[in-house]
């Protein structure tokens, strides 16, 4: 299977004394759901932002589909940030039009259908929605694209368990099987069931990259239990 994501010697520092990501090199295949796991401050969000061009690496190269990160890769990547990035005064319908205009792979019909199933009115303004519904709308926008790479930064943080189930179910049912999904989270027990592979990060370093099955077979533990062992304080 060809590599979808290629990362060569990437480092990123916000201050001169501390590297958020430190000399990370990794190749990720297509068609997998990959957990980017690590405690707070381990560099997960920085890594995801580097992959979609919101941050520029201090050194190293990142390629998506053999193309260096830029406008071309942005048409291949669907990104869900860890915060609400849609303007509060915008109506959902207008946001759908916006996505349909800019992303050729976005299905407005599918998005409307999903919103209808959730009972979310497309004419509602973003600032009138609850936190959970805002998350769901953002997730629908991302998962209704037929992207090659989905980057989901903390998609289940701060929402109730029912919403978590919905989010994970949506990821599983909606994503393009030829694509890869990278889910960054520290709530491992909730996502473990859907992960094919896992990446452990600690203090900006890549600690481990293996399959979830491998952890269970070799260590006789769940990914969550193994994570707790590796990152024990």
């Amino acid at each position: 299977m060809s590599d979808l994501v290629e990362i060569y010697g990437v480092s990123k520092s916000y201050t001169s004394r501390y590297a958020a990501v430190n000399n990370v090199s990794i190749k990720l295949p297509a068609g997998k759901i990959i957990g980017l796991l690590g405690p707070n401050g381990s560099g997960k969000t920085t890594m995801i932002k580097l992959m979609n061009g919101l941050l520029t690496p201090d050194q190293g190269i990142i390629k998506i589909g053999s193309v260096e990160v830029g406008p071309q890769t942005k048409s291949m990547v669907a990104y869900l940030p860890d915060k609400t990035y849609l303007a509060g005064n915008k109506r959902i319908r207008n946001i759908l039009d916006y996505f349909a205009d800019f992303y050729e792979d976005f299905s407005k019909e599918k998005a409307l259908e999903m919103l209808s199933k959730l009972g979310i009115d497309p004419s509602a303004r973003m600032d009138t929605l609850s936190k959970g519904n805002k998350e769901k709308v953002q997730l629908i926008l991302v998962m209704c694209r037929k992207a090659k790479l989905y980057l989901l930064d903390e998609p289940i943080a701060g929402v109730d368990p029912a919403a978590r189930d919905y989010i994970l179910q949506t990821i599983l049912t909606c994503y393009n099987p030829e694509a890869s999904v990278i889910i960054s989270t520290h709530l491992i027990s909730d996502v473990e069931q859907v992960l094919d592979e896992v990446i452990f990060m600690k203090n900006g370093h890549l600690v481990l990259y293996t399959s979830a099955e491998n952890i269970r077979e070799q260590h006789g533990k769940s990914v969550d239990a193994y994570f707790r062992e590796v990152f024990k304080c």
Partner: protein, 286 residues
Amino acid sequence: MLGKLMKYEWKETWKAGVGVLFAMAAATLLGWLGMGGLLSNSDKMENLYSYGSETLEFGAAMMQMAGVFSILLFTMVLMFSVFFMLIYLIVRYYKTMFSDEGYLTHTLPVQKWEIFLSKVLVGGFWLIIVYIGLMASIFGFVILAAGTELGMAELLEGMKEIGRAFSQVLYGTALDDGLLMLGTILYMILSPFLVLVFAYGSFTIGQLCHGARVFMGFVVYFGIGVIQYILQIVMKACLVAGISSDNAFSRYLYLNVYGRLILSVGLAVGIYLWSMHVLNKKLNLK
């Protein structure tokens, strides 16, 4: 993609633009009513005072105050309209580029120059519209207010006279010089766009200072202003030293207009290129 970006930029800014135009129109009408009331009722006011009644005097004073207040409001609204529009555009630029909304802007499959240019073009267009609205308001106010006192024919003749005197003082015979007029008009049209390139560019370059991005944006903007001022002083000094012909003033104006145009455009190109470097190579969204 530039067209699509401009379409959405237009959709997001038209309400503010139209709001400013409405405010200007309302203020002009109010100012005109106030001025008209003061001019046409001055005799009646004097009559009211002559009765010696305190109530009538108070009423007359209140009417005069209302007139003065409406003219004051007209002046204030006009003064702040362009300023408000400019501030609105700059804040919107910052919000959509460097706040949480930037997560959407910078993950669109478009080039950075397309995002920047779409904002400059649409914003510049709105500034031109507001400038025209400002001119129309002042013109309308003068026509309406002075027309009540002078009569329209007299007023128009007066304005023509002022125009002739203005062109003679400023240009000599140069009004016939198409190139000078062209340069002046070109400068007037380009100015709103250049102002936005300087402002947007400053806050983009300010992103290089991680600890104080907004503050650094102001510093860069101020720095650009100072550089522009110094360059203009140097240019003017060179022009004055180099001109010795009979029509020195006309020639000075001619060179000054084109010199300022070239300087401003050159500086804007520099700021634009630096901004593109920051957006393409140094972008670090919080």
